[in-house]
C-alpha cells in the first residue's frame, strides 16, 4: 500500500510539473480527486489492512493528498501568472461600440422610496439628509433614550466606539437636526439606511431602510396624524384600505401611535400574514415629545409636531409579495429583474 501511494505521488507530481494549461490541470485534478479519482478510491482498500498498517498509512495518505492538492493549485497560479503577463500586450483604446440592448431595472426599494417621496412631496414635504454614522447622543439620548434605560432594549446597536459613535438604528437621528436647522412650519422627510445588531433570517436584516417625516406647526394634532396615515396608505395600497391608530410606545413621542392598515390579504377576515387579527401594523408615529422639541430649540407651548415613519423593506414585501427580506441586499439578479 505504501508503495502504491508513493507511486501515485511520483507519477502525478511529474504530470503536474509538465502541465501547460489550466485544462490539463483540471484533468489531473479529476483523475485524482474526481468521483472515480485514484485518491478518492484508494481509502476503500484500507479495510483490508491491519490496524498497525492503518496507523502508518492514514497519515501518509493524508500528507500526499494535501501535497498533490497544493501542487495543483500552485501550478494553476503559475500558469495564471504567466497568462497575466500577456495582459500588458493587450491594447487599451476606447473606440466606440454599441451599448448592448438590455432591459434595465430599478431596485424594488428605490421604487417604493421614490413613490413615497413623491406622495409626500405633493403635500409639501422636502427631503432631508442625515448621516448613517452618528453619535449616541443624536441617535438615543436627545430622543429620551438615556444610557442604561430599559428602552434601549428596543434597539440592538452596532457601535464604532461603544457608547459614543454608532451606526444609526433609525432615521429618527434626523429629528434633532431637522428641528435645530429649521424654523416652523417644518415639513421634512428622511429616507435611508439604518443598522441593527440582528441575526439574519427571512424576516430580520441588520441593514435596512427607514422612512421618517417630521411635521411641526401650530395646532398639529393626532387628527392630522390620522390624515397623514390614511393619505399615504391609500396612495400605496389603494383607496379601499382602512387605517386605524392605536397606542404604541416610543420614548421620543407623546402620545405614541402605531398605525394599522386593514390586512390587504384577507380584508380584515384574519389570515396567516396578519396573524389572524385582520390588521397589519404598517407604520409607527406620534406627537413629538415636548422635551425633544425643546432640545431642538422649538417652544412646545406654541408648536406641536408629528413624527411618522415606516420600513420600506416591509412595505415592499407586502406590496410585491416578497417573502425573504435578505433578497434586497443579495444582488441576486433573478430577484431584481423580476
Amino acid at each position: 500500500m505504501e508503495e502504491k501511494i508513493s507511486q501515485i505521488q511520483k507519477n502525478y507530481l511529474q504530470r503536474i510539473a509538465q502541465a501547460k494549461t489550466l485544462k490539463q490541470l483540471d484533468e489531473i485534478f479529476l483523475a485524482l480527486f474526481g468521483k472515480k479519482g485514484e485518491l478518492t478510491l484508494l481509502p476503500k482498500e484500507f479495510g483490508k489492512l491491519s490496524e498497525e498498517e492503518k496507523r502508518k498509512i492514514s497519515p501518509l495518505f493524508n500528507e500526499i493528498k494535501l501535497e498533490l492538492e497544493t501542487e495543483i493549485s500552485e501550478a494553476r497560479k503559475k500558469i495564471r501568472e504567466e497568462s497575466y503577463k500577456k495582459l500588458k500586450g493587450e491594447k487599451f483604446d476606447l473606440s466606440g461600440v454599441e451599448i448592448k440592448k438590455r432591459t434595465g431595472h430599478l431596485h424594488p426599494l428605490t421604487q417604493i422610496e421614490q413613490q413615497t417621496a413623491e406622495i409626500f412631496q405633493k403635500i409639501g414635504f422636502s427631503q432631508f439628509e442625515a448621516p448613517h454614522i452618528d453619535s449616541d447622543y443624536n441617535n438615543f439620548e436627545v430622543l429620551n433614550i438615556p444610557q442604561n434605560h430599559p428602552a434601549r432594549d428596543l434597539w440592538d446597536t452596532l457601535y464604532i466606539i461603544p457608547g459614543k459613535l454608532l451606526l444609526r438604528t433609525h432615521t429618527s437621528n434626523s429629528q434633532i437636526r431637522i428641528l435645530k436647522q429649521n424654523k416652523p412650519p417644518i415639513r421634512l422627510m428622511n429616507i435611508g439606511r439604518c443598522f441593527r445588531y440582528e441575526n439574519l433570517d427571512a424576516r430580520h436584516e441588520h441593514t435596512f431602510e427607514q422612512f421618517e417625516l417630521v411635521y411641526v406647526d401650530k395646532n398639529v394634532s393626532m387628527a392630522n396624524l390620522q390624515y397623514l396615515s390614511e393619505y399615504f396608505l391609500k396612495a400605496i395600497f389603494g383607496q379601499e384600505i382602512k387605517v386605524r391608530l392605536k397606542p404604541k410606545y416610543y420614548p421620543f413621542v407623546e402620545p405614541g401611535v402605531g398605525v394599522d392598515g386593514l390586512c390587504i390579504f384577507c380584508k380584515g377576515q384574519g389570515c396567516q400574514i396578519c396573524g389572524g387579527v385582520g390588521w397589519l401594523e404598517l407604520a409607527g408615529a406620534g406627537m413629538i415629545h415636548p422635551s425633544v422639541l425643546k432640545r431642538g430649540g422649538i417652544d412646545p407651548q406654541v408648536y406641536s409636531g408629528i413624527a411618522w415613519g415606516f420600513g420600506p423593506p416591509r412595505m415592499a414585501m407586502l406590496k410585491f409579495g416578497i417573502e425573504d427580506i435578505r433578497l434586497f441586499n443579495s444582488g441576486i439578479l433573478s430577484f431584481l429583474q423580476k
Binding site: R80, G96, E98, G104, N148, S221, A223, N224, P247, E281
Partner: protein, 530 residues
Amino acid sequence: MKVSIDWLKELVNLNISVTELIALLPLRSVSIKEFNEDFFELDMKGYNRADLLSMRGVAREVAAITNSKLNFNDEKIDFPDLPKVEVIVEDTDLSPVYCVAKIENLKVEQSNDTWVKKLSDCGIRSINNVADITNLIMLEYGQPMHAFDAQKVSGRVSVRVAKAGEKIVTLDGKTRNLNQEDLLIADENGPIGIAGVMGGKDSEVTESTTSVLLEAAIFDPVSIRKTAQRHGLPSEASKRFQHGLTKTNLLQALAAAIKMYEDLGGKLTAITLIGNLKQGTKNLKLTQKKTNSLIGVNIPPDQVKSSLKKLGFTLQNETVTVPYWRLDINIEEDVIEEVARMYGYENIPSKPLPNFKTKLFQVPLIYNLKKTLADLGLTEVQTYSFYSTQVTKNLELTTEDLIKIANPISSETEFMRDELWPNLLEAVAKNIKNGFKDVAIFEIGKVYSPPDKETYHLAIALMNGSDNPILELNQIFQNLGLHPKGGKLENRQYFHPTRFTDHMAEVHPRVVNKFGIEQRIAALEVEIEK
C-alpha cells in the same frame, strides 16, 4: 408579561369576554404577542408601563378600559411590633428601601395545583411552596421578593457593593466574579446574593429549610441593569427593578407575602424596614385647551374627567393627581395620551394638513441618475455597507484604513466599505455562478472612511461576455454626462495593466479569478454629490 386568564378573572369582574378583551387591549393599552386559553402575553419590550408588569396593574388597566369592577383594594398596612432582623444598608443611593421579614416554623412542600397553574400560566416554573410565594407575589404586585434560608445566613445582613476579588456561586450553580459596582446582599461570611439579580446557592431554600429571611427592596434601576448585563443574567426580577417600583406597592406586597407564609403555618418573628417608606404624590397640570388641540377632537370636560377617574387619576380644576402606580406619567402630554387612549385612537377623525408652500423640494439627483442607468439597460443592486470576508480576503485589503465595528454580528459585518466596486464584483461572480451570461449592474450608495466620513458613490460592474468590456462601459459612462471629482480607482494592483482611466478599469483577472470566475469584468467608481 404573560397574564394568567384565570388569575385575572379573580382580580377583576370582567364584563366582556376574554376574546373581546384580547381584541380591545391593543387598541387601548398595548399589543398582544401571543395568547391561548390559559394566558395572553403583553408586548412589553422596552415599554415604560412598569405597572403592567404585574397582575394587579393589568387588572386595573383592564377594569378601566372595559368598565369592569376590581375585586381588590389597597390594604392599610400595619406591621406588628417585633424584634428587628439585624441589617445595615451601606449604600442608600443604590438601595433606598430595604425590608426583611423573618418567618419561622415553615415546612417545604410542593405547591398546590392552583399556585402551580398560576405560575405556569405566567411562564414561571413551580419550585416549592416557600419559593413559589416569592414569585406569586412578584407576579401579582410586580414587587420582586427573595427568600434566603435564615439558618444559612450568619450574623448581620449588609447591603453593599462588592469588594475587589469577591465571588459568589449563584442559584444557577455558576461562579460569578463580582465587579466593584455590583450591589450585593452579604452576611458576615461574604455575599449571599447579587441584589435584584440572583440569589446565592449557599443560602438557597431547600427541602430542609424551616425559616426564611424574606427580602423586599427597591434598588437603583441603572445599577441593577448594569449588573444584570455584566453577568448576562436578565431575569423576571431584574426586569421589574429596572422599570421602577413604588413604596406603597412594596408594603402591600410584603404584607401579602407574610400572610401567605402565615397561611402555610409560618410565624413572623422579626421585621426590619429601612428607608423612607412614604410615597410622594405627583400633581400635573392639564388644560382642556391643550388636550383638545393635541388630540384634535373636542372631548367634553366630563368625559375627560371620568376617563381619568377610571384609570385612578383625579382631576380637580386643572390639576391632575397621578395614581402612585403610574411611574410613566410625568408631564401633561402623558396625561393627554391617557385621555386619548380612553377616547379610542381609532375614533379620532382625519384632519388634512393646511396648504403649504415650500421652495425646498430639491431635484432628486440620485433618482434621476438611477433612472438613466436603468434606461440604459442596467440593473440596480444594493449591497451591504460592509465588506464580506470574501472581499477582504480576495482583495487582501489592509483593514486599518477601514471603519471597524466594535461589536460586529460576525466577521461579515466587521469592516465598512470604502468603495462600492468590490461588492459589485462579488455580486457579478454570484450571478455568473447562477448561470448569467451577461451582467450589467450598478449601485448608488454611501461609502465610509475613518473616523466618520460618508460620501455617495456610483459604481458599475459589467460582464458582457467579451474580452474587453471596458469599451462598452465607457459608452455607458459617456451617456451619463458625469463630471466626477472624487472616487478614483487608485489601487492599481487590482486592475488591468493597460486598461484603466481615473474612474474606469478592467478588474485584473488575478482578482476576478479569486472569486472563482474566469470572465473579463470592467468596473467604474465615481463620487457623486447629493
